[in-house]
């Protein structure tokens, strides 16, 4: 497996296909905010896959699920928003602005309590930058802080509405065990059993070298494929080559080639 070649070609393909897809979408001028949201989410999905591809050291059970959890989360969010584009995109943005406004208020409190002038100045800079970001979209006095979730539903219900409950059950949930440091993950990837019966086979911490698993990269490509398909079906557009088609072609070509190289090597 020539990883360097794979990364370069995957990167080139994803960047080109992202641009091709977005160019084919006809942005409706009266729904610019909503398109900003879904465009941003599309970009993030591609970025996550690119970043994972660029880091083969992370193609293992410790790190790859951090990416894949974010990618499945994004897919559920996006597919639910697309069912009522304008309203749900507004909810998504409002919640994000509220989160930042709350953070600004927390920094302001921090400034009052900060022990020295230097810290106060640094925190004030953050407040200024964040306030200006909020005000560029909505006057901050009009931004509501909602301490709950951004959508009125939890992710399970969102996935049910958006007809992707299997993804929620069999990908989002298991990857969440990794992202949230839950026992099913920690006990397998960060622990091992002491085999001393006098210690009741208790579980002890261990720094485990998780095996290299290119399958995680395949899954990442699959989630980009699902995301592109969602855009294709929602906006009735077609992409010249879908990510999984690219994947199959790439490996078909390169496996054939490496087999031929092997035969040549043996002959010579």
């Amino acid at each position: 497996m020539n990883i360097e070649k794979f990364i370069t070609e995957y990167e080139n393909y994803l960047i080109d296909s992202f641009h091709e897809l977005w160019q084919k979408i006809k942005v409706e001028p009266d729904k610019l905010g909503a398109y900003s949201v879904i465009g941003g989410l599309l970009s993030r999905q591609v970025t996550l896959s690119l970043e994972l591809a660029r880091s083969p050291n992370n193609w293992n059970g410790h790190s790859a699920p951090l990416f894949l959890r974010a990618m499945t989360d994004l897919y559920i969010t996006l597919s639910w928003i697309l069912l009522d584009l304008e309203e749900r995109a507004k909810l998504y943005v409002s919640h994000g602005l509220g989160e930042e406004k709350l953070l600004v208020e927390l920094y302001k409190l921090g400034i009052e309590e900060a022990p020295d002038k230097h810290t106060k100045e640094q925190m004030q800079q953050i407040v200024d930058i964040k306030s200006s970001w909020i005000n560029s979209q909505k006057m901050d006095w009009a931004v509501e802080v909602n301490l709950g979730s951004w959508s009125p539903l939890d992710y399970r219900k969102m996935s049910q509405e958006a007809d992707c409950e299997d993804l929620y059950k069999f990908a989002y949930k298991p990857f969440s065990q990794n992202s949230h440091n839950m026992w099913p993950h920690v006990s397998v990837y960060n622990s091992k059993s002491c085999t001393n019966p006098l210690h009741r086979y208790h579980i002890i911490p261990e720094l485990i070298e998780a095996p290299f698993e290119p399958d995680f990269m395949y899954r990442s490509c699959k989630y980009v494929n699902k995301t592109f398909s969602l855009f294709s079906s929602t906006f009735n557009i077609e992409l010249s080559k879908m990510p999984l088609d690219w994947w199959d072609e790439y490996w078909q070509e390169n496996i054939d080639k490496s087999e031929k190289d092997d035969v040549t090597d043996k002959d010579s």
Binding site: K192, S193, C194, T195, N196, P197, L198, H199, I204
Partner: protein, 229 residues
């Protein structure tokens, strides 16, 4: 299941295993028939010295730790000349040697022995290992024998319609349905026993002992963690 009233979570390993460990040693190193005979006769003799005022079931050795020195002396006098006595001590001396405040230590007053500490540790590990899997052959024999002693001492009474399994089946036909019935009966009975004796209850005149906790605290310090791939 945990929503059912009075349902409690119990642990065979944490709470009961240390009290049954002595039986595992006998079953591991004696013929099954001989081990059963030694265990049952010893418990019958030990409990019989109390007459009507019976202590808590002594097949769980943690209950010996609740007895007074005088009571232990009476038991010792009653069993020291029995035929099974030397077999009992020979097979438990490694546990006595390693474990502080071993509940059966009063039996060893006059016993002369020589135990290699490393060998003793290996034997104790083997005793524990065989009970950690509660469905293992040794663990099944131990649990069935524990229930059998409660029948023999008259503690457990079975009402007429309840069909008592054939406990011999676990020795003679361990893979038979009858043996599975006996094993399941014994495990269920042990579970009930854990729940019953885990805390003091003045109304039922029950006193909880701390042998299990003490046992695990000691065994943890006896040797280091073993970690291998």
């Amino acid at each position: 299941m945990k929503q059912i009233a009075n349902m409690q979570e119990i642990s065979f390993t944490d709470e009961l295993l240390p009290s049954l460990i002595w039986m595992a040693a006998l079953y591991l190193r004696c013929d099954g028939r001989r081990a059963t005979k030694v265990i049952v006769e010893f418990i019958k003799d030990a409990e019989s010295v109390f007459g009507e005022k019976r202590p808590q079931p002594l097949h769980e050795i943690g209950n010996f730790s609740l007895l007074s020195s005088e009571q232990k002396q009476i038991i010792y006098d009653a069993v020291k000349d029995k035929k099974y006595f030397e077999t009992l001590l020979d097979n438990l001396e490694h546990q006595y040697h390693l474990l502080k405040d071993y509940p059966l230590s009063f039996l060893f007053e006059e016993h002369i022995y020589a135990v290699d500490k490393i060998e003793a540790l290996e034997m104790l590990s083997e005793d524990v290992k065989n009970l950690l899997d509660r469905h293992s052959s040794i663990a099944t024999k131990v649990q069935v024998t524990a229930v059998y002693t409660t029948l023999e001492t008259g503690r457990l009474k079975i009402c007429h319609p309840v069909k008592l399994p054939d406990f011999n089946a676990i020795f003679t036909e361990p893979d038979s349905d009858e043996a599975k019935h006996a094993a399941a009966f014994a495990r269920a009975n042990m579970n009930g026993s854990i729940g019953m004796f885990r805390q003091d209850n003045d109304e039922l005149n029950i006193k909880a002992h701390s042998w299990a906790k003490y046992f695990w605290a000691q065994t943890f310090k006896l040797s280091d963690c073993i970690s291998e791939y």
